[in-house]
């Protein structure tokens, strides 16, 4: 039987160590002495203040952060949906609530997280299809999703105010 989906088994777990550029602190002669267990003793820098994050690492962590934020906001979204649908009075009250600057700002933050997560997610799907998987493609894709989501976030702000 032919398999429905042909997927090449590639390790999808990327550790922080793969994403950061390491600055070796040992001298080369020291490493040479260690011989066969060079890989085990390789210096690993996990100090967040000195790690240089390449753009794709930043866009990847932003995708996670925005996704987790949206997960936390599910009850808020359901509350708004409930208020908007239960009666004409609660709909009007919700509309009035959204007219306050602080509420508008919160809506803008939620929609911004959604816009970013959506754009980064679409890029994920495109990469699953094999688009932009190379190193240069990955860097360009990261830049592209930042630009596209920035435009969307500004557009949402203009639409709200």
């Amino acid at each position: 039987m032919k398999p429905l989906l042909k997927v090449t088994p590639v390790p999808i777990q990327v550790t922080l160590g793969d994403l950061v550029e390491k600055k070796p602190s040992h001298s080369s002669s020291n490493i040479a002495k260690q011989g066969h267990n060079v890989n085990k003793k390789r210096p690993v820098n996990l100090d967040l203040r000195t790690i240089r994050f390449p753009l794709p690492a930043i866009t990847s962590i932003l995708h996670r952060i925005s996704g987790f934020l949206l997960f936390l906001l599910i009850p808020v979204l359901l509350w708004a949906l409930s208020a908007s649908l239960s009666s004409a009075d609660s709909f009007a009250a919700l509309k009035e609530c959204f007219s306050y600057p602080i509420a508008k700002f919160c809506v803008w933050v939620i929609l911004s997280a959604l816009a970013y997560h959506l754009v980064a997610g679409i890029r994920h799907l495109l990469m699953d299809c094999g688009w932009g998987e190379s190193l240069t493609g990955g860097r360009m894709g990261a830049k592209l999703i930042l630009i596209v989501s920035a435009i969307l976030i500004i557009a949402v702000g203009v639409w709200l105010w």
């Binding site: 999808i12 987790f68 949206l70």
Partner: protein
């Protein structure tokens, strides 16, 4: 090989696929709502209620609600397995998240069904 017992489909590949299918459904729903708000800049209660009373939108909304729960579970599960290394803490966190998502799912159904 250690088999995970708390991920959604008991298979990483199936989780991966589910995450993508639900993502497409959610993206379609978000774009649909965005278009609705662009076409109707001043939404009134009656229009809004009519929208959610139609069967197609009700089915689409329920599908999106279901997808949201599955998508959120797989996403949060992945984050939890990456960052919470203590098994007991992770287990507790996962139970709380799963219960919260199930409660939200039931709440969402009652909202969409009472329109």
């Amino acid at each position: 090989m250690v088999e995970s017992v708390s991920n959604l489909s008991r298979s990483g590949l199936r989780d991966w696929l589910l995450q993508r299918i639900t993502a497409v459904i959610l993206a379609a729903y978000v774009i649909f709502l965005a278009f609705y708000f662009m076409c109707h800049p001043h939404v009134e209660y009656n229009m809004w209620q009519d929208l959610f009373m139609s069967n197609s939108v009700r089915i689409f909304s329920l599908l999106a609600l279901m997808s949201l729960m599955v998508h959120a579970w797989i996403g949060v599960w992945t984050i939890a397995t990456d960052y919470i290394n203590c098994t007991i803490l992770r287990g507790l966190f996962e139970i709380i998240v799963a219960l919260a998502l199930i409660v939200c799912f039931i709440w969402g159904i009652t909202i969409l069904w009472s329109v």
